[in-house]
C-alpha cells in the first residue's frame, strides 16, 4: 500500500473537524474526498502533508510512519525522517502558492536543486520534460503573475512532480477553472495516476468527481 490512513481525528479547540477517518490507497489509485464547506476537507489534506498535526490516528506512507498512534498518543517521525517521508507526498494548494519572484522553470528547479537527489543535468532534464508534458513550453521563462489560473495550476503540479512523489494531493483543483480547463486537468490527473502516482482530490464538484472516477469518500459531521 502506498498510503494507509487509520482513525484520523482532528479538532480545533472544542470544534471537532473530523473523526475516525480511515482509508488506504494503492499505486495509481484515485480517491475523491467530498463534503460540504467546512467539513474539514482541506484540514485533512493538510494533516496528510504534515502542515497540521492530528489528535488521533496513524498515517503510513510507503511503509514508513509519518505519525503513529500509540496508546492514544500520536507520535510523529523525527525531523530527519519527516524530511524524507514528506518527499513521497506532494500537495497542489488551492491557491497554488507559486514563488512569485521566480520563473516557471525556477519554481520547478528550486526544491530538487536544494535536495540534490539527482544531478543538475538530470534535474534540468526532468523539468524540461514536465514543462513539455504540462504544456508550459511557451511559459517556462514567465513569472507567475503572467499566467492564467489553469497555467498556474499546471506549474504547481509540475513543481510537486519534480520530487517524484508517490502520492499527490489536490485541494479543490477545479475551483479556479472553467469547464474546458477542467477537462484538461482531469486528463492530466488521470495520466499521473496511470504513471502510478496515487491521487487524492478534495472537491465539492460532483461533475468533476464523476469525470475523474476512482474511490469516493464523503465527509459528514
Amino acid at each position: 500500500m502506498t498510503l494507509v490512513v487509520e482513525n484520523l481525528s482532528k479538532s480545533y479547540g472544542d470544534t471537532n473537524v473530523f473523526s475516525d477517518i480511515s482509508f488506504a490507497l494503492e499505486k495509481g489509485e484515485i480517491l475523491c474526498i467530498r463534503g460540504k464547506s467546512g467539513q474539514g476537507k482541506t484540514t485533512l489534506l493538510r494533516c496528510l502533508n504534515n502542515l497540521e498535526t492530528l489528535d488521533k490516528g496513524s498515517i503510513k506512507i510507503n511503509n514508513r510512519y509519518l505519525c503513529k498512534e500509540v496508546n492514544g498518543k500520536v507520535n510523529y517521525a523525527s525531523q530527519q525522517e519527516l524530511k524524507v517521508i514528506r518527499q513521497d507526498i506532494g500537495f497542489v494548494f488551492q491557491s497554488f502558492n507559486l514563488f512569485p519572484h521566480m520563473t516557471v522553470k525556477e519554481n520547478l528547479l528550486l526544491a530538487p536543486k536544494f535536495l540534490k537527489k539527482l544531478s543538475n543535468d538530470e534535474i534540468e532534464k526532468k523539468a524540461d520534460e514536465l514543462i513539455l508534458k504540462l504544456d508550459l513550453s511557451t511559459k517556462s521563462d514567465n513569472y507567475p503573475y503572467q499566467l492564467s489560473g489553469g497555467q498556474k495550476q499546471r506549474v504547481a503540479i509540475a513543481r510537486a512532480c519534480m520530487l517524484s512523489p508517490s502520492i499527490l494531493c489536490f485541494d479543490e483543483p477545479t475551483s479556479a477553472l472553467d469547464e474546458e480547463t477542467m477537462g484538461q486537468i482531469s486528463k492530466i490527473i488521470k495520466e499521473l495516476a496511470a504513471q502510478g502516482i496515487a491521487i487524492i482530490i478534495v472537491t465539492h464538484d460532483s461533475a468533476f468527481v464523476e469525470e475523474i472516477g476512482g474511490k469516493v469518500i464523503t465527509l459528514k459531521n
Partner: protein, 216 residues
C-alpha cells in the same frame, strides 16, 4: 573668494566623516536588522521580549541622547576604567539605533508574506534557512524597499548629530567657516551638499527598486 578657499577643503574633510558614518551604519545595520527582526519574531518569548525592549529603547529615545550616553556615559561609571573612543561611540550608537528601526521594517515585511509561501516550501522539504534566504527574503526586500529608502535618506541627515562629540562633519565645517567669516554662505553651501547627496541616493534607491519590478 576667501570663504570658499577655507570652506571647500573643510567640507571635503567633513564629507569623509559624513559619508563614513553613513556607510558604516548601513553596511552593519542592514544585515543585523534582519537578524534582530527574526529574534523579535522568535517563538521563544524571552528572546522576543528582550528584543522588543531593545527596539523600544532605541526608538523611544533621541539618537542624540544615545550618542551622549554611549560616549560620555562610561566616564561616569567609577572604577570601570573603560570608555569608547569618539568614532567607536558614533558607530555603535548609529548602528544600535538604525538596526532597531530597520528591524521593525523587516519584521513588518516578513509578516506580510503570505503564509502559503512558507507552506509551499515546507511541503517541498526545504529547510527553514533555505526557505528564508531564497523564497522569503527576496520578496521581503521588494516589499520593504520604499521604507528602507526613507530610513537611508534620514540617516544622511542624522549624521550631523556627531557634532555633539566634537567630530567635524560637513555641518561642523560650515559652522567653523561661518564663525570665522561672519557669513551665512557656508550654511547654504552645506545645505546644497546634503541635497546633492540625497539626490544621488534617491536615484540609486530608485534603480535598486526597479530591479525588483520584474515580478508582482
Amino acid at each position: 573668494m576667501n570663504v570658499f578657499n577655507m570652506l571647500i577643503p573643510m567640507t571635503i574633510e567633513g564629507l569623509r566623516i559624513t559619508i563614513g558614518v553613513f556607510l558604516a551604519t548601513l553596511v552593519i545595520s542592514i544585515p543585523l536588522s534582519i537578524i534582530v527582526a527574526k529574534l523579535r519574531m522568535s517563538k521563544n518569548k524571552i528572546i522576543a521580549k528582550i528584543t522588543g525592549i531593545y527596539i523600544y529603547i532605541m526608538r523611544g529615545t533621541p539618537l542624540l541622547l544615545q550618542l551622549m550616553f554611549i560616549f560620555f556615559g562610561f566616564h561616569y561609571i567609577p572604577l570601570i576604567g573603560f570608555a569608547f573612543g569618539r568614532y567607536q561611540a558614533i558607530i555603535i550608537a548609529f548602528v544600535l539605533n538604525y538596526t532597531a528601526y530597520l528591524a521593525e521594517i523587516f519584521r513588518g515585511g516578513i509578516g506580510s508574506i503570505d503564509i502559503g509561501q512558507f507552506e509551499a516550501c515546507q511541503v517541498l522539504s526545504l529547510s527553514k534557512r533555505f526557505t528564508f534566504m531564497k523564497v522569503i527574503l527576496p520578496q521581503v526586500v521588494k516589499n520593504v524597499m520604499p521604507s528602507i529608502g526613507n530610513e537611508v535618506i534620514t540617516l544622511v541627515k542624522d549624521t550631523s548629530l556627531v557634532y555633539i562629540l566634537g567630530v567635524a562633519d560637513i555641518l561642523k565645517a560650515a559652522k567653523s567657516v561661518s564663525n570665522t567669516y561672519s557669513t551665512f554662505i557656508p550654511y547654504i553651501f552645506v545645505g546644497i551638499v546634503y541635497l546633492l547627496i540625497t539626490a544621488i541616493l534617491t536615484k540609486l534607491l530608485d534603480n535598486f527598486e526597479s530591479k525588483f519590478s520584474y515580478y508582482r
